[in-house]
Symmetry: C2
């Protein structure tokens, strides 16, 4: 599971800082999360294969999280994309994009599917044999969702030596991987644990931005491996965070602690702070494993 931060600063794009966008590589999927202005240039700078992005998740309709979407969709068309593209985002996202494609007379030749969200409860919005994606209802000035990406538990791994010792025929291997016990010809039952190993642990990633401090998300993201939580402000600006419905670094750490997350990544810093290491210092007082997002940074888990 790899996470590339394309942009992680709040509000307006600037010369050296980009609005929110990140790319999650999980089980051979390239999931794009949010798409602020300039995201397509950030994808190029980070040498990411555009064409492999088939799913884009938009948290909310503030410009710093979606103004780059229409440009990316248009560029896909100019690059002669043929694969379907799926966009998940708040109700309204379809109208915003289609009106621009219609008026610019540049409808895409590839399939463009919008999955508009309006539920205030967590729901599954994507699922295949390897990954499931759920919404994390957040509290912000407009309707907002975070997203929980969970790998599914894979098949058990064959204990080849044990299987050969018991002289088990290869036609039973899939049954063993699926967790089944085996009955030998003499009637002996070999329990699965003796002939297989546990599968690789399934990993999970939660993206939570933008949001005010909200303990309501803790049960949804409980025990997550990696939590990205917005920290627009430091605790010294707690009143401003409350007023604008953003979080502080301390609040992000408290959520990570209560959710028993393994790792916390901070981002969505207000550009008022010149030194983002202050965010790490503040969050580390409460939570031990804090990382700082920064534009162009790659996290491997």
């Amino acid at each position: 599971m790899n996470l590339t931060i394309l942009g992680c600063y709040a509000a307006t794009p600037r010369t050296f800082t980009n609005p929110t966008s990140q790319l999650l590589e999980i089980k051979n999927h390239l999931f794009l999360i949010d798409c602020g202005e300039g995201t397509q240039v950030q994808l190029r700078k980070n040498k990411i294969k555009f064409s492999k992005i088939n799913h884009i998740f938009i948290s909310h309709l503030h410009g710093d999280h979606f103004f780059g979407l229409v440009g990316l969709i248009s560029t896909f068309a100019l690059l002669n994309r043929t694969t379907d593209l799926h966009v998940y985002g708040p109700k309204g996202i379809k109208e915003i994009i289609t009106i621009q494609l219609r008026l610019s007379n540049s409808w895409t030749h590839y399939g463009l599917f919008f999955h508009e969200l309006e539920s205030k409860e967590s729901e599954i919005i994507f699922e295949d044999s390897k990954v499931v994606v759920r919404t994390i209802p957040l509290k912000h000035r407009v309707y907002t969702n975070g997203f929980l990406f969970q790998e599914k538990k894979g098949a058990r791994k064959l204990n080849l030596q044990a299987v050969q010792n018991y002289k088990i025929d290869t036609c039973y291997y899939q049954k063993i991987k699926n967790g089944g016990d085996i009955t030998l010809e003499d009637g002996t039952v070999i329990i699965n644990e003796k002939i297989s190993f546990d599968p690789e642990p399934a990993k999970s990633y939660a993206f939570c931005s933008d949001t005010v401090y909200n303990e309501g998300i803790v049960p949804i993201i409980a025990n997550v491996d990696v939590l990205y939580h917005e920290a627009t402000f430091l605790q010294s600006e707690a009143a401003l965070a409350q007023k604008t419905m953003h979080s502080t670094a301390q609040e992000a750490a408290l959520i990570a602690l209560k959710a028993n997350a393994k790792t916390l990544i901070l981002g969505h810093y207000s550009t008022r702070y010149e030194n983002i290491s202050l965010f790490e210092a503040e969050a580390s007082l409460l939570f031990s494993n804090v990382l700082l997002a920064d534009d162009g940074k790659l996290f491997e888990f």
Copy 2:
């Protein structure tokens, strides 16, 4: 009259090339012409005072000419702008912007005025005491206008020495600046040319992008000082230019020649060409005063 090229490459924004946007400084106005994705960052990189832009002209509704507009308008709001902003562009531009501001719940606190264009004839769209702006109907795949910016002829300049020699009272100075003759107390008439100088020549700038080769614009831009004309392709790709309704460098030069322009600036290069000096070479065969636009370049006239 200063022209800053913020972006002058066709199609998609890339790591080192930006889509169309330019800033014209004329008679204390800062006019922004087109606004591709990333324009606000280009404005910052070129250290331009955002807040002084009060008029934005959009040629047509292809993404590489307007996808940066909504972001710029939003950033103006975040920067607490209070001055009115006027946007001139094809019918539809208002709907595109307002739907995004409405759905993102971020309506501007400053006055935002849309002047939607749909005429196929040249028309005056802005005028004050010093400048007039007219549309230049272009031919492209969607409804498109170029823009002709013309300084108005200023007042004549007082010939102070002559005025004092004739002992003309200061109360007549404005009349002289306005071109009037003066009758002295003894009845002698002093013709204006004897007591004043010609005003500074009024300058003009024509922006013509995107367009197929179109001689129909020649009468509108006749004798223009500076013509920016798109040259997406070289003549070797003339068929492609015709098909996509763009121009070649040779065609741009032919328009400059027929319009008796003083200077031709080329831009809107396809990113297929690695060396833009080929455009200058081709156009220079027909027209002597060719300049090449490039991102970040400042032209002073």
